[in-house]
Symmetry: C2
Subunit: 421 residues, 2 copies
Amino acid sequence: MKDQDIANLVNLLGQQARKASRILMVASDQAKAHALRSMATQLESRKTWLQDENAKDLETARRNQLSPALLDRLTLSDKALQTMITGLRQIADMPDPVGSQTATVTRPNGMRVSQMRVPLGVIGIIYESRPNVTIDAAALCLKSGNATILRGGSEAFHSNRALGQIIQAGLKEAGLPEQAVQVVDTTDRAAVGCLITLTDYIDVIIPRGGKGLITRLAAEAKVPLLKHLDGNCHVYIDRAADPDKAHDIAVNAKTYRYGVCGAMETLLVHEDIAPAVLPRIANTLTSKGVELRGCDKTRALVPQASAATEEDWQTEYLAPILAIRVVNTLDEAINHIAHYSSGHTEAIVTEHIGAATQFQRYVDSSSVYVNLPTCFADGFEYGLGAEIGISTNRMHARGPVGLEGLTTLKWVLTGDGQLRG
Amino acid sequence: MKDQDIANLVNLLGQQARKASRILMVASDQAKAHALRSMATQLESRKTWLQDENAKDLETARRNQLSPALLDRLTLSDKALQTMITGLRQIADMPDPVGSQTATVTRPNGMRVSQMRVPLGVIGIIYESRPNVTIDAAALCLKSGNATILRGGSEAFHSNRALGQIIQAGLKEAGLPEQAVQVVDTTDRAAVGCLITLTDYIDVIIPRGGKGLITRLAAEAKVPLLKHLDGNCHVYIDRAADPDKAHDIAVNAKTYRYGVCGAMETLLVHEDIAPAVLPRIANTLTSKGVELRGCDKTRALVPQASAATEEDWQTEYLAPILAIRVVNTLDEAINHIAHYSSGHTEAIVTEHIGAATQFQRYVDSSSVYVNLPTCFADGFEYGLGAEIGISTNRMHARGPVGLEGLTTLKWVLTGDGQLRG
């Protein structure tokens, strides 16, 4: 397609989304839940067709020699479909965030002031080749009353188109506008450039993917992004830590899963407790195949650790590698985190109430834990029911973003003819 | 100054602000209130010096033939200073939003989840030649724990520099870092371009000024803007309105002050009630010197109205002019607002609960009123105690923005060694 044709296409999708969003904004939860349940039913009944469409993408992907990990993510296996179906039904059952109001304040002149939760409007999702995002993101946006424009990776083109048809059929069955969820029907990369600058019709873009994609989008976007970059997460073992908890938390934070953004990447240990905890933690991690890189004081206690460089403190490994640093004080740990952290999730292990309070108050990340491993960074674990992603933005939503993060508040005032003097 | 020198200067201000913000973020309310009260005292004791500095700006402004209205805004009169002093003391006395926590939820595994209110970080304020903004904005940002970089209009250069010195003296007296509030000490416009792209050191920019300035900044900014554009505000008189209330609300909404962003710019009237209310409202407005422009049905009832054009529905007059349209239904009013409103503030006048509910639910503006004039759009009136501005953003803060809008939430989780399975 020519660039102008793509611009026209994206513009049209935007106009249609805005129109649909005005209906969705005030749609009943009954209708939204009906649509989500209907999508689930169709994922079951049209499974063969879906997997045939998916096979086209897989064939191309194999021809292009995609890595086994990427092929795995791309595959609409029975299990992957079942997870989507369960997810749709769970989201359908969640309470509708839209229309709820905050406590009402009555002003001296008698007028009543409150805030009503309302959808953000139109949300653009830009993601890589994971067809499950098509369903998850569309479902969360729909439940929160937002229209959605989905732009998935080109490797999942046929799969996403098929899933889009199922989504639209579900919307139609529930009497909702089909254009409430639209899949961008071109693999041309220029479409992304159009989406991120379409300020008239798109209220927020949620990019899901690697740091490279998100940094690039952030540099060019005019539409606000609800984003998270990397998760360079820290665990600090305080002087007053319980050694057993410290061991278990550090090991869990690193090894729960290496590839998640809440995985611990640097371990900080107070020098007074380091001899008592560090060798044991190091040995457990080594036995699990984790490579250790440490400061000089660490290496004096952990002979298997290689020397950490400046780059190690900055790195989100997403791999079985851990940087370790011994610090003299709680302040030094807080300063290390302020300098190197990406503002995602940090934890302190301590039995001392003052240290815990100071750490939670002074550490400026989107989630700050006491006596918990950083790998709890997940909307389900926080009780949000579901999450669209984790935000390291300071404005709007920070940390795991659930349905509420996809909404905003408007002021509603009710009076009886009060005038301003 | 050369562009590179300006870039270096702004970068340095940013670095210093970030450093100061880390201290301010956890400063006690006692210290912040002390600084604000000390600023108030110094505005009193150094009045002569301030007015001498202000006189330099006024002399240049007169030489450059600034309008009387602009000269008036620029003048640090005794009265203007007294307003600033009162404002500083009021803000000092307000409750500190920082450090408060939301209700705590205990998860099934026993870990406790809550959100703590924390400052946004570093806030840039870009404004026109109103020295009072220097004090007001710095005070609100300081109270909410944010570091501030202030860039006022070049016409107020000496006034702002002098006010900046008083602010920094107040910070110093309270033991807070002087660089918590910095005035950009150059009138070069290139400094603005640097500020709005300094994403490493500035978390949010609040522009205050005309639509032209804000549109220009929005087009080039990389730092998120907390902004409002124009206020094309509507009052809709429903079929079920009380005619007396309708008259008083419409007149107040238009004439409270013509130049405020909450002023009514278009009046919508249901055709069933138009004959009973419109001539009376029109006559009152005409007697107050308001020019009326109406649709055909309006003109049949209001002979003094000229014909409204498409442009009238789009215009924020900020002047004694009003557009009037007779509509057939509540839906037509809602659709007119959806099409033409700038999303600021709209009101319905009605005694019918269904119409009121529908209007507040369906109208997608930052404030939606029942039986109140749109000119109530002001943080003080809403009970916020003070306001930094009114946001028509959808994300983060919408409507009048007080101290809470200058903060964000971080997740704080506390456990006792729970692990993720």
